[in-house]
């Protein structure tokens, strides 16, 4: 009892010391970023290959494509999530037809390149008389593709909900659908939020592929402006930096969300 009293100031000191050490580490790590990125930027500038006037003139147009990129990614992740819920329930269904259809979907999508799927929706479907504008075509292809990958994530999430949860709900007389909707899925969501966040960041980058079907998003603008003016270095740099910043921002939010979910199991 008496020994606890002189220990208290030491404990506070240790804690303050550890806090300072953490802050120092973070500051040093951040300065490494600043030095490396800044150095690289200056070195590029020093080569004399970067045309500042050109960037000033065309930069805003290219950066304007960010909104299309965000629109594509957000819309597609929403559709993909909906597809994934249906897909996961299908993959877990005891009905052989539903189960078969769901597993075929996953296999087909995961077994073919995303680029082929994008081309198929935009270039091949018109032969059946289905002609889609490029943005809807891009959203359909991206949703379809990510929906399959996320189906597996959702399936794992649903299976990770303890069996007792389902049994308790069923014992209260809740019918199967209600058990799934009210008890299992909300808990599965909690489990897989980090994985959905990862997929969203990946989606932002993969959305660049729809530049190949003339969706005027970030990469399409960079490529078009760059090739016409023979200044691809500048335009691709702009696009790369924007993608990078986008993923940093979303990763930050994702991390915050994850931490909030981790606080208590609610």
């Amino acid at each position: 009892m008496t020994s606890a009293v002189p220990a208290a100031p030491i404990l506070a000191e240790i804690e303050a010391h550890q806090r300072r050490a953490r802050q120092r580490f973070r500051a040093q790590s951040a300065s490494v970023w600043v030095v490396l990125v800044g150095g690289l930027g200056i070195a590029l500038w020093a080569t004399g290959n970067i045309n500042g006037d050109f960037i000033g003139k065309w930069g805003p147009f290219i950066i304007g494509g960010t909104w299309i990129t965000i629109l594509l990614s957000v819309t597609s992740i929403l559709f993909a999530t909906a597809l994934a819920i249906v897909g996961a329930i299908g993959r877990l269904s005891e009905n052989a037809f539903i189960n078969g259809a769901a597993s075929l979907y996953v296999s087909l999508v995961r077994g073919t390149p995303l680029l082929v799927q994008i081309y198929f929706v935009f270039f091949a479907l018109p032969q059946f008389g289905i002609v889609l504008p490029s943005i809807p075509a891009g959203i359909i292809a991206l949703s379809f593709n990510y929906g399959a990958y996320m189906t597996e994530i959702f399936r794992a999430g649903i299976q990770a909900v303890p069996r007792g949860q389902r049994e308790a709900a069923e014992s209260l007389g809740m019918p199967e659908r209600l058990v799934m909707r009210r008890i299992v899925l909300p808990q599965a969501f909690r489990i897989i939020i980090p994985a959905i966040g990862n997929d969203f960041v990946a989606m932002i980058k993969d959305s660049a592929l729809v530049s190949t079907i003339a969706v005027q998003e970030l990469l399409w603008r960079a490529k078009t402006v760059g090739t016409q003016a023979f200044r691809t270095l500048e335009t691709l740099l702009i696009a790369a930096v924007v993608y990078w910043l986008l993923t940093i921002v979303f990763s930050y939010f994702q991390e915050k969300l994850e931490r909030r979910m981790a606080q208590g199991d609610r």
């Binding site: 049994e167 014992s171 209260l172 007389g173 809740m174 009210r182 808990q187 208590g264 199991d265 609610r266």
Partner: protein
């Protein structure tokens, strides 16, 4: 089931009537022809070694396990075991009718972690029994008060102790106003100092005349609260009768052996009821 004339008078009509229950897990014969009758207001305690089939029997009664052979009737709803079409559509609805009449309590409580205590309690009454929100809340508060946890109404389960979780689970089951409560080793997952609070609630329910079937290892609780104690071994009912008979002067050698071994391996359990 053996029921003495005096007991039969105090009790009411038959609520649970299970006949010829057999259960195999693969080649493992877990239940070997169980007949069980439970009357209104009767508190039945199932005791026996682990692996004797007590839990499986309980789970067969509300079809969390499909019996291999036999029939279960609860409050007039009768279902024949039919493992070949266990998941048929019309049958699921019948099973649901049985579950509405039989509340189940689990060793692991199984509160819904993403809902507050109150939300746990009103979920099924509102969505299954279609009771209006304010009535469901009133009933939930009544039962929370009964288990002594009204002040935890808005907490989430992760903020409760194990004993509190089990008491909330009891309140949640009561909110469905079942005809019988079935407890599957409700205190086995609890730290010893939390066992008493749960048993107190259960004892109170038994004395109020709640119909219940309890799988338990708490012998003193069984002695205090049971109308009937059933000793099971190797998937069969070996002995059934009032607690003073089965626990006090067991007729069957296997029961005697079990009780002797139990009391010598858990001497502290003898005081479980008096210590709190």
């Amino acid at each position: 089931m053996i029921t003495e004339p005096t007991l039969a008078q105090h009790l009411g009509e038959v609520i649970v009537d299970a006949r010829g229950i057999e259960k195999y897990f693969g080649a493992n014969h877990v239940l070997r022809g169980i007949d069980l009758e439970v009357r209104r207001r009767q508190a039945v305690m199932l005791i026996g070694r682990s692996g004797s089939g007590k839990t499986t029997l309980l789970r067969c009664l509300n079809f969390l396990e499909e019996p291999t052979v036999g029939s279960v009737e609860i409050d007039g709803v009768r279902i024949e075991a039919d493992p070949l079409r266990a998941n048929a559509r019309g049958r699921q609805e019948q099973i649901r009718q049985i579950r509405l009449r039989a509340g189940m309590l689990f060793q692991e409580f199984n509160l819904f972690p993403h809902m507050s205590v109150l939300a746990n309690l009103i979920e099924a009454p509102m969505r299954v029994r279609r009771i209006p929100h304010n009535e469901a809340v009133t009933a939930a508060e009544k039962y929370l008060d009964k288990v002594g946890l009204i002040e935890k109404r808005d907490e989430f389960p992760d903020r409760l102790s194990g004993g509190q979780k089990q008491r909330v689970a009891i309140a949640r089951a009561l909110c469905m106003e079942p005809k019988v409560l079935m407890f599957d080793e409700p205190t086995s997952a609890l730290d010893p100092e939390l066992v008493g609070e749960v048993l107190t609630v259960m004892e109170e329910l038994a004395h109020e005349g709640t119909t219940m079937i309890v799988v338990t290892h708490e012998m003193h609780f069984a002695r205090e609260a049971a109308d009937t104690v059933i000793y099971m071994d190797e998937g069969q009912i070996i002995e059934a009768g009032p607690p003073e008979q089965v626990l006090g002067e067991p007729a069957d050698e296997r029961t005697q052996h079990f009780l002797r071994r139990f009391l010598s391996s858990f001497p502290d359990r003898q005081g479980a009821i008096h210590d709190r």
